[in-house]
């Protein structure tokens, strides 16, 4: 169609053929004059999309602000909303005197894109929530993560309230942009927040539109938050009873939680609730374990006058921090001023071994009260263990009664039941084993015990240890045992050190030997006669034992410490 043809007047109505062709098109078309933007034709699709727009009207003054502006400004593109529909229009020139606006209804397309974006954001949010919530078994951290996620993605402020324990309810809250706060509330005030008692009582969540935001008590949020526009209270599902409730608030008069918001909050609350209740379960277990541990862990060592006692205990497994190795100290009783120390090893590991350890320690404590000597303690303990019905384990241990002798010396009377003999580090740096021997405890009815006595001069030390130390595997092959020879050597290198430093050094050398985590329990107890004079550490004679001479170093590079 040639619009420049002089046969067609500028304002003449379009020919019937042109009309029919444009009416058949799916696209909405407005044909306008280039001179004054008068609409000369509105096709059928355009009439359906823009009812009321007639030929003869001006496109620059039409009821669509976007179209009117684009027309006056000469733009070739506009978007607009008209009667609930989203429109996208392109202008195309049609010869010198006319142009056409070609309009598309993009309502559905935009809605789909928006729904997709929202879904994607929800997925990303829930994935992050899952990752962060599943990371910790600590309840406080789970609560913190919950309010952080909720305040970042779901509302302007989030408060988690836990079910009341002993009439007190713990809470944690976060207002977006502020820092996390926590505290406790009396159970009686919980009812002041609309929907909170129901949520904590395990009832189905109440839709946000039924909760009157104006009823929110002043204590729920800081004053700076201002008026609450919308409130949503969601239960945090737990182990058959709610783990708590999540209170979400948005500020501003027009605020609201849509149905999608409520659904998302519920899905999030399910994950948060699972994490919080798992953490609560873990906390209960830890509390129980702590109570049991308190009696089974090595005791804090007393420091009797004139004797230095140093202990070191390393459990293979940390979950319980107790195992088959143990040591204990029993102070003087009425009839005897001696301090009695014991170090032993119950066959096996884990809780069963720990329980037997507890029994052995208790038996020995009682025997100490009747002033039994070390050999007698072992004999009675053996009978007691054999007499107990559930006993399929044996014990090795060393018992020593410590007393002070003249000139700052310390005397030890020892007896062993199948345990490695303690080593004595003399002042001149030699190391000798205490000549004791005896049968293991808890296997045969009659045991033989050969006690011995040693005296320590000031600065000398006697080391009791469990076989986890000498059986630690490492070295070049990674499978070689540390062995008593190396232990003696290690101890010899501690001559002149304070007791604590000597024990720490032996621990360190064994750790270096295994070149990684120690796999077995290791217990050490050192008895030392305190040095009375200044240590004679001044004279150093370092021989170079290896081509690299780093023997002396053994992992020490303090030269580079800060």
């Amino acid at each position: 169609m040639d619009t420049r043809s002089p046969a067609v007047p500028v304002l003449a109505p379009a020919s019937a053929l042109l009309r029919a062709a444009l009416d058949a098109a799916n696209e909405a078309v407005l044909l306008c004059t280039a001179a004054d933007h008068t609409i000369v034709l509105v096709n059928a699709a355009a009439t359906a999309l823009l009812p009321g727009l007639e030929p003869g009207a001006s496109a620059a003054l039409c009821p669509l602000p976007g179209l009117a502006r684009a027309t006056t400004e000469g733009a070739t593109l506009f978007t607009d909303e008209y009667r609930g529909r989203r429109l996208l229009g392109h202008r195309r020139p049609l010869g010198d005197d006319h142009y056409g606006w070609y309009l598309q209804d993009t309502t559905d397309e935009i809605a789909r894109a928006e729904a997709y974006e929202a879904e994607r954001a929800r997925t990303v949010f829930l994935a992050e929530a899952s990752r962060r919530l599943s990371a910790s078994l600590n309840q406080r951290r789970c609560l913190r993560t919950t309010v952080e996620l909720a305040a970042a993605h779901l509302a302007d402020a989030a408060v988690v309230v836990l079910p009341a324990r002993r009439r007190q309810s713990e809470w944690m809250r976060l207002v977006a942009g502020e820092s996390v706060e926590q505290g406790t509330l009396r159970e009686s005030v919980l009812g002041e927040v609309p929907g909170l008692e129901e949520a904590l009582g395990g009832f189905p969540p109440i839709p946000s539109r039924w909760l009157d935001a104006a009823q929110v008590p002043g204590w729920l949020l800081p004053e700076s938050f201002g008026a609450v526009g919308a409130l949503l209270v969601t239960p945090l599902p737990g182990n058959a009873e709610p783990a708590g409730a999540l209170v979400l608030a948005r500020h501003g008069a027009g605020a609201a939680f849509s149905a999608e918001d409520e659904m998302l909050a519920r899905i999030f609350a399910a994950r948060a609730g699972a994490a919080i209740s798992a953490a609560a379960l873990y906390r209960d277990q830890v509390d129980t374990t702590a109570i049991l541990q308190a009696d089974l862990l090595p005791p804090e060592l007393p420091q009797p006058e004139g004797v230095e006692l140093i202990g070191s205990y390393q459990a293979a497994k940390d979950a319980l921090r107790i195992g088959g190795d143990f040591y204990d100290v029993f102070g003087p009783v009425d009839d005897s001023p001696e301090t009695v120390v014991v170090l032993g090893d119950v066959c096996g590991k884990g809780p069963e071994a720990a329980v037997l350890t507890g029994k052995v320690r208790q038996t020995l404590r009682a025997l100490r009260l009747v002033d039994a000597d070390p050999a007698a303690m072992l004999t009675v303990l053996n009978r007691a263990l054999l007499g107990s019905s559930r006993q399929h384990r044996f014990v090795t241990l060393v018992v020593a009664a410590i007393s002070r002798a003249e000139y700052g010396r310390v005397r030890l009377c020892l007896a062993t039941g199948g345990h490695p003999a303690p080593l004595v580090l003399r002042a001149d740096g030699t190391v000798e084993a205490v000549p004791v021997s005896g049968t293991l405890i808890g296997v045969v009815p009659r045991i033989s015990v050969r006690p011995a006595a040693v005296e320590l001069a000031p600065g000398e030390l006697c080391l009791f240890y469990s076989d986890g130390l000498t059986e630690a595997r490492g070295g070049a092959s990674g499978a070689e045992q540390y062995g008593e020879a190396r232990l003696r050597d290690a101890l010899a290198s501690c001559a002149g050190m304070p007791g604590a430093a000597a024990v720490e050094r032996v621990r360190q050398l064994v750790s270096d030997w295994v070149h990684g985590g120690v796999r077995d329990d290791i217990a050490m107890l050192a008895v030392r006669a305190p040095a009375r004079t200044k240590l004679s550490l001044m004279e150093t004679s370092t021989v170079a034992p290896s081509p690299f001479a780093i023997d002396a170093r053994r992992g020490d590079r303090r030269g580079r410490s800060r």
Binding site: A476, S477, C494, G496, L535, F548, I550, A552, G559, R562
Partner: protein, 347 residues
């Protein structure tokens, strides 16, 4: 020995106070050392200054004295034990009500230098933190169990030796994946904490004072996905670690052939040589792990200095490096790092 009954010091500026304290810890004189610390506190010297300018400074002097072969290992250990007691005396004198969050302070698994982190722990306590001090050589699983049980706001992790970097990395990743950010410290993390960043630590501090400042502002930082940096090292690193025993044993056999007197070594000398060769492998592995040859060249230079102080010719170290190099022909990155070490030795 001269009697050390000089008048108690009034301030850290008193001439000779550092020397006097050094002499006392070196003699294992716990009472004397604690007396100095107590006198300084009595005269109003802030506890932080006593810890940093006296105890910590003396500790690095002790390290230097050992490296220069002036002090024996026993004396160094004794001095450290005394300094721990002196630190305990400072701590006992100053109690602060916790106003900040809770923090866990620990040494990496295999790391035994606990005094610097103990000082950090005390500094943080003075700054109002609730501090859990887990001590030397904390295995990763123990650390994580502790985090689940206490839920701290930060972990301060110390690493003095670069060979512990792979284990430090495992600990850092574990802490961050339970949502606890990590501040790293100690020379093991490299110059300017370069390797701390590589391992994903949220912050690094050159010393205790800087760490306290860093933790006092905008903490905790947001934690990104901890598994983004969960794997470092490559197949060469894996080979080296998996064959550590073979590499050391082979080197030892060849060393005996090249150096006959080794055949007469006793157990102790033998073990020491095994350990030294093990160090070469460990530092090499750490260098491959973080992808920086400086881990290895630093080790070589430092070892050479220690050997020199003990009148051992550097050729011994050269032989050790060569024995490792010969076994790693198919591993170009490892070879390049060893060559850089050999070059450092020539300088």
């Amino acid at each position: 020995m001269t009697v050390s009954t000089t008048t108690p010091p009034r301030s850290l500026d008193d001439p000779g106070v550092g020397e006097q304290y050094l002499r006392l810890v070196g003699d294992g004189d716990e009472y004397g050392a604690v007396e100095i610390v107590t006198a300084l506190l009595d005269n109003g010297v802030p506890p932080a200054r006593v810890m940093l300018d006296l105890i910590a400074r003396t500790q690095s002097r002790v390290g230097e004295l050992w490296a220069a072969n002036d002090w024996s290992i026993a004396r160094e250990h004794a001095a450290t034990a005394i300094s721990e007691r002196a630190l305990g005396a400072v701590a006992a004198r100053s109690s602060v009500r916790p106003t900040r969050g809770r923090i866990t302070v620990a040494c990496v698994d295999g790391e035994w230098h606990a005094l610097p982190v103990r000082i950090l722990g005390e500094m943080l306590r003075l700054d109002g933190w609730r501090v859990d001090f887990l001590g030397a050589s904390v295995p990763g699983p123990h650390l994580v169990t502790h985090l689940h049980q206490t839920g701290p706001d930060a972990v301060a992790l110390s690493c003095m030796l670069a060979t512990r970097l792979p284990r430090a990395h495992a600990a850092i990743t574990a802490c961050r994946s339970v949502g606890v950010p990590v501040i790293a410290g100690g020379p093991g993390f490299g110059p300017e904490g370069r390797w701390a960043q590589r391992l994903g630590a949220d912050a690094w501090a050159a010393n205790a004072e800087i760490a306290v400042h860093r933790l006092a502002r905008d903490w905790p930082p947001p934690i990104d996905d901890p598994y983004q940096a969960a794997f470092l090292g490559d197949d060469e690193y894996t080979h080296l670690v998996r064959h550590r025993g073979d590499l050391v044993s082979t080197a030892l056999t060849r060393l005996t052939q090249a150096y006959p007197p080794m055949g007469r070594y006793n157990q102790r000398q033998h073990d020491a040589t095994v350990e030294d060769l093990g160090h070469v492998v460990d530092f090499l592995a750490a260098a491959l792990y973080v992808g920086d040859e400086q881990v290895f060249t630093d080790f070589v230079e430092w070892t050479a200095a220690v050997l020199e102080a003990r009148s051992v010719p550097p050729v011994a170290l050269q032989i050790g490096l060569k024995l490792m190099r010969d076994q790693l022909r198919d591993y170009p990155a490892a070879i390049a790092i060893i060559d850089a070490g050999v070059a450092a030795l020539r300088r």
